[in-house]
């Protein structure tokens, strides 16, 4: 949909008119100044707030699959709630709840195969659970145990990232590696609206675009970066335009619509695997809860801003859809919740028994081989532990 570019469209005007505001449009010279068309950027929604489905877009997954997705959503929330309880009881470090963002989370990984890669943010444990990170591992991660940090051995994920935006370039690099080796897989990388302000994220969009890297950027726009609303983060609240500015096909998706999220990522992943390059997906959602457990949102945001989003709950919306389809009833919903809660409790109990700090191992993974100097530092450190009677 190019803008008008013919001469005749320019009305008579004088130099003193603001060319910025009135914008004469001329391309009659021979030089390469084709008018700028940033491409069409669209908004995708399949399941609306009232759980009305757009039949033309309904992916029509089979019943079992639909129910598996539902269980994933419920488990994510159950896990989140348990983490919060454990944190409040001093059993867990600071972490970032993802209440309300469950559909974003799951939708971005459901379409991935085991050979595809995923690069989570620190708020991605919904996606991590789906990808195959055990709950125990995630408990360990957030409780500060070394063993919790590496992605599970059989999962093609990057480690979670806490330095905002710092994982996006490596994620693009992994995707460039797929091109290098002609592997037909893709990478999905997850980050927030705040992360879009980091220069390194812009560089990542550009590297991906220039190299046609098979990567799907999922920008989870939850409206907030700690206390900073999107309006202070960016002059345009359409973050998909960031992707467009770098020449990436870009799309906005209702991030609370699990069907739309899944579809959008699925299509982008297919494109990527087929060699058609990267896609930028802005998933519009809302951070319903605390930024992290160290945060108090009542200081900076009014409850009125949160309330309307209650009705947009991604899980309720999807449950209504499933109920209408006759796949769930209230009894089943309650049962699934209980089952998920139960699973989480079992994992928590295993975590409680299993998690042991291993201070003797901190020198184990710094280099392939320790230098004499580091050997000496390690020895001195072990002697200290000895002296202090630490196992």
């Amino acid at each position: 949909m190019p803008h008008e570019t013919t001469e005749s469209t320019t009305p008579e005007r004088t130099a003193s008119d603001s060319i910025i505001e009135v914008q004469p449009t001329r391309t009659r010279s021979a030089m390469d100044t084709t008018p700028i068309d940033l491409g069409r950027i669209e908004v995708l929604q399949i399941l609306d707030e009232h759980a009305q489905v757009d039949e033309s877009l309904d992916p029509r997954y089979d019943d079992e699959y639909l129910l598996r997705i539902h269980r994933g959503l419920v488990l994510t929330r159950a896990f989140d709630q348990r983490m919060l309880t454990m944190q409040r009881q001093g059993e867990m470090g600071t972490f970032a709840p993802n209440l309300g963002q469950e559909a974003c989370q799951l939708g971005q990984v459901i379409p991935l195969t085991k050979d595809d890669w995923y690069s989570p943010s620190y708020r991605s444990f919904g996606a991590q659970l789906w990808r195959g990170w055990s709950m125990e591992r995630l408990f360990k991660l957030w409780a500060g145990y070394h063993e919790g940090f590496p992605p599970p051995p059989d999962v093609n994920d990057l480690p979670f990232s806490i330095v905002i935006g710092s994982h996006v370039l490596p994620a693009v690099g992994v995707a460039m590696g797929m091109n290098y080796r002609s592997e037909p897989n893709c990478m999905v990388v997850n980050f927030g609206d705040g992360a879009c302000s980091q220069g390194a994220v812009s560089e990542a969009l550009n590297y991906a675009a220039v190299n046609k890297a098979p990567v799907v950027f999922v920008c989870e726009n939850n409206g907030w970066a700690i206390s900073t609303p999107l309006t202070k983060q960016s002059a345009t609240t359409n973050l998909a335009s960031r992707g467009a500015g770098f020449g990436l096909p870009s799309i906005r998706v209702d991030g609370n619509d699990i069907l739309a999220m899944t579809l959008a990522v699925d299509q982008a992943a297919r494109r990527a695997r087929a060699g058609d390059g990267p896609t930028f997906i802005e998933a519009v959602t809302f951070r319903m809860s605390l930024h992290t457990t160290a945060d108090d949102p009542t200081v900076y945001r009014a409850q009125e801003l949160v309330d309307p989003w209650e009705a947009r709950c991604p899980i309720t919306r999807y449950e209504t859809y499933l109920q209408r389809k006759g796949l769930l009833d209230t009894g089943a919903i309650d049962r699934i919740r209980e089952e998920c809660d139960g699973e989480v409790i079992v994992a928590r109990d295993r975590f409680r028994t299993d998690a042991v700090a291993r201070p003797r191992e901190i020198f184990d993974h710094i280099y392939g081989e320790l230098s004499p100097e580091l050997e000496a530092q390690k020895q001195a450190y072990l002697d200290r532990l000895e002296r202090k009677g630490v196992e």
Binding site: W142, T228, A357, I362, V390
Partner: protein, 327 residues
Amino acid sequence: MPQRTMVEALNLALDECMDRDDAVCIMGEDVGINGGVFRVTKGLHEKYGQRRVMDTPLAECGIIGTAVGMAIHGLKPVTEIQFSGFTMQAFDQIEQNMARMRNRTQGRFPISMVMRAPFGGGIRAVEHHSESREAYWAHTPGLKVVIPSGPRNARALLAAAIEDPDPVIFYEPKAVYRAFREDVPDEHETMPIGVAEIVRPGADITVISYGAMMRVCTEAVEDLVDIHGVDVELIDLLSVSPMDTATLAESVSRTGRCVIVHEGHQSCGIAAEVIARLNEHVFEYLCAPIRRVTCPDLPFPYFQTEKHFLPDADDVIAAVQETLAWE
């Protein structure tokens, strides 16, 4: 005198400097209504408005880079980086412009600005949240690097840093933020930058430290004095660049023995520089090798093991005893 935590003392310094000089402004992520993630800027947005207390987009390079521009324009920005680990994101602007603009323009554009950041371990934080990389800045010409150890010197040094004509990296030991209260006067108070403080005079050995490790050293020194009868001289560097070589050299010329304690990594760290200078200035007085008690050359570990990673009072006591035993 009112008792204040370090967070309150820093807030006081910011408040009074903003009150005294309209050119002083605050920039950083969540420093506005939220008052910063550690609440150091609490209430200032309300008091001075968003013209002077600016929430920035989430980009540390952007914070420092634009602050340099504001300083060129004659303002005195006090920037906050949420954790010192994220100063890496701004390394280019710090090294290429903040530290060098005065030199690059042969004095035309001095940069009077402060980069505040909480640093160090001890608060059970996730990865990248416990770094002590002050040596990077001490190795960077054009910067001053100031590190308080308690509420009172934090307030006085921050005020001095804001008034300083040069760019100051101000590293706040977050383990001390709310650890204790101290008398901090309401009246304006500053301390000269680059002057170390002999916290406890002594004759047998000099212990040098700064930041949160001063608490560890104080604990160790109490034991050493009371239980082991060692007359320790304890020095708080307060500024690692410029470093008060004269005070250190004078002390060690008396004691002949020295231990340096910090959280930063060992190789090319602050302790190495202290040793190099003492070697140059008081070689003839040294009776034993100078010992370093630092974190190893490893990334800061996940928090279940941090208490073993960080030096503690026992480590300081052991190093002092070994140094005293050396012949």
